[in-house]
């Protein structure tokens, strides 16, 4: 493309470009400019000095992090919980959306949908408080389990590391399933009805309709969301873990974000925290690329 061509195109699309401009500016100012702060990951930054005064230390903070005795525990918890969330939490909203779509009673369907996405609007502070009460020794969960005879004496669920992952994953799914299903419901709604009609004429039953029409039609959406989800495996849900964690379950609840908060932000080791943040971004970047590539190979759908 030659220069004159570009200029011509700009002239033709000037109104559209003008509309895009605020967004681009916003992104530059708030997403790209602050990136220069990354340099403190390679410096020994003291909070009372300016960034430029701080001496360079190279990869010191990265090495410190990899050497830290908590490194493996933190990675184990973060990756373990994230993969389980991906494994269980990712397909469930799809299944939920498909099943919801099969409901014929529209009022019932609407109610179910509303109830399922309601918890999404509550913050983890509130929901975490509810979870703490429910899972305590005298809480709802214990009463139910005692009542139906599954356990003989109450268990303090949040006081035992072996239950923590389960609680975290289950409560996360409970909170987000309805909300995450919305996008799939929208995708399903966009499927041409005539395809279903044709399938019915060909003698397809419900399961065959789901298998041959619904799922293939929303596959691009699934692929896209999957790629985004994979890149976030080092993100543990900070709010949730922060609220539910306590000294008794810290063996299972110490995740990367919490570690950064405790050793970095709270202890004012900003360089250290930045180094870990940068490490996370690099990993996320690599995962995004890999997932994108793999998905494109397998399904032909990809983000870019």
């Amino acid at each position: 493309m030659t220069n004159t061509n570009i200029l011509k195109k700009i002239k033709v699309q000037r109104t559209l470009l003008l509309m895009v401009l605020p967004g681009v500016l916003w992104m530059i100012i708030f997403n790209y400019l602050p990136m220069y702060g990354i340099i403190i990951a390679f410096k020994e930054f003291k909070i009372y000095q300016s960034m430029f005064e701080a001496p360079w230390v190279g990869f010191y903070h990265f090495i410190e992090f990899f050497k830290d005795e908590d490194f493996f525990l933190v990675m184990k918890n973060t990756l373990g919980m994230s993969f389980l969330k991906l494994l269980i939490g990712f397909p469930l909203p799809i299944a939920f959306a498909v099943l919801l779509n099969e409901l014929k009673l529209s009022r019932f369907k609407k109610n179910i949908q509303t109830i399922s996405y309601l918890p999404h609007f509550l913050s983890w502070v509130v929901l975490g408080g509810i979870m703490i009460t429910w899972t305590s020794e005298a809480g709802l969960v214990n009463e139910v389990l005692l009542g139906i005879g599954i356990i003989q004496k109450p268990i303090a669920f949040l006081g035992d590391p072996k239950y923590f992952w389960g609680i975290a994953i289950a409560s996360d799914i409970w909170k987000e399933i309805g909300w995450n299903a919305i996008i799939y419901l929208a995708a399903i709604a966009a499927i041409d009805v005539s395809m279903y009609e044709a399938a019915v004429i060909d003698g397809a039953n419900r399961f065959q309709k789901i298998k041959y029409i619904t799922l293939p039609s929303i596959a691009p959406t699934i692929a896209m969301l999957f790629i985004l989800a994979v890149s976030g495996v080092l993100n543990s849900n900070f709010d949730q873990v922060f609220v539910l964690n306590n000294p008794l379950n810290s063996n299972a609840s110490e995740v990367l974000d919490l570690y950064v908060y405790r050793t970095g932000i709270r202890a004012a080791r900003y360089s250290y925290a930045t180094a870990i943040g940068l490490f996370k971004s690099v990993v996320a970047f690599a995962l995004l690329f890999t997932a994108n590539k793999v998905t494109r190979r397998l399904t032909g759908n990809s983000l870019f």
Binding site: I47, P55, W56, V57, E137, A156, N246, L248, N251, R266
Partner: protein
Amino acid sequence: MKKVLAMVLIVALMGVFLTACSEQKTEQTQSQSEKKDPSEPSEIAEKVEEAKVANEEIQPSYLDDTSPITLDWYINFSWFPTKWGGDATSEYITEKTGVSINYIVPAGNEAEKINSMIAGDTLPDLITLGWWESQVDAMIQGDLVYALDELAEEYDPYFFQVANSGRINWYTKDDGHVYGYPNASYSPEDYEKYELTSNQTFLVRKDMYEAIGSPDMRTPEGFLQALRDVKAMFPEVNGQPLIPIGFHDFNDEGCSSLEEYLQNFLAIQQEDENGNLVDRTKDPEYIEWLKVFRQANEEGLIAVDVFIDSRPQMEEKIAQGRYFSMLYQRSDLTAQNNIRFQEDPDTVYIAVDGPANDRLDQPLLDGDGIAGWTLTLISKNCKDPERAIKFMSYMMSEEGQLDLFMGPEGVTWENINGKPTWKPEVKETLDTDRNTFDNLYGASYTYWMLMDNPMSKQWESEPVEPFAQLYNWTKGKAVNKSQYSDLTLEPGSKLAIEEGKINSEWGETLPQLIMAETEEEFDQIWTEFMSYREEHSWEEIFDYQQQKLDDNKKRLGIN
């Protein structure tokens, strides 16, 4: 795709390049040459003494300018709820001095808030925080706060008149300046004059304790038996399970009740006869008592709640009277104990003798010392440092203390035979409903940032029940431990980071110790922690603290 890869490569190369040109190691060097001899009183302290001797009639400096001004004041305690204004005391002070205060309080974690204010250079006019916080040094090193003596020199000679030389001397830094002024501090003369009290208590619920025959809980056997008896006799309180023993909240660095408190109750000294710091954690009797708590847990006498609950849940349970016993700070359950008292005076928490060593020695509880509790500093961002230092002088002066403690004359107190005396209805509210008292009158150090406890003794009235018993119980058991305060490591230094790791390892270890199923498991966890400590420069940390202790003793004139 290729372009992106190229970009990544460039960024990576830049990183390497930048690293290559920086071989600087970050070491903390102390300017030894300027360090003052701790045994000599500081120049400012001498100046304060001279001002006292000269006894000139200087008029209070706040009178120079009483035009309205609002100072922003950061309080590093998320629990501090009070706003300035709306009560008799603060309105009176504003009217008198022209100063209004806008308190800024962190919504969540304190360290996070103040660290970000320091990093962003957005400290407000005044800052109050605990003297032990690493941010104190960070602010001084970063030149973010004024030296109070320099401000006083420039604007406010009255400051030297009202300051206390002992406190000034304690807080004079190596550069010869004073950056913060403490509250709740007792200087050496004060603790000769007044009987020391402590906040640390072992509490039991009166009616239950008496019902099981007021047993001696000083020995492991007596202690465990009392918990067993009370659990058998009162399995439930108002339909909810009884909690046989409670502690301060377990946080990620441990639980003060099972550290300082327990060690103090066992009367473990902090230094030996040769002046060497004692590693109190290694004391055999301390370990023995931790095992007693392990035993208690094995027998189901420690509820899991105590490991999980934070302050709000605990306060609710205290108010409900669900704990039988507690190793707890008496001032932290004032409001809750009052609720119990109103409900039924027999169900209050009283202080009794708690865990003791084999010789059944009196506990050595932390008494009020020179370091006090908080420090108040003036930031370099202060919009009017002159007004700020003058207001501080006012609050430190006897006039200011009387206003802060008793409130405005005629409203909250009257002068009876030359002694300020609470009005009966005010006193009644103070003794029964602290919240209402704060909202209406705002006296009795609702605004405690610069409270001078030894000074306000002259106006104090005798404590009433249910507080008096707890207060009086600590008399004779409290000792002055000034020299052991401020053994803190240099913030951000390698040792401080190592210490942080040890602390958080302890935070995980302590509950494991108590919850260990067998004594062998306990021993194993204990040995692991001890070697963890050794691996993380424990010895160097200990040496550093020893050196600080020696300096502190010189500063206080102890041998």
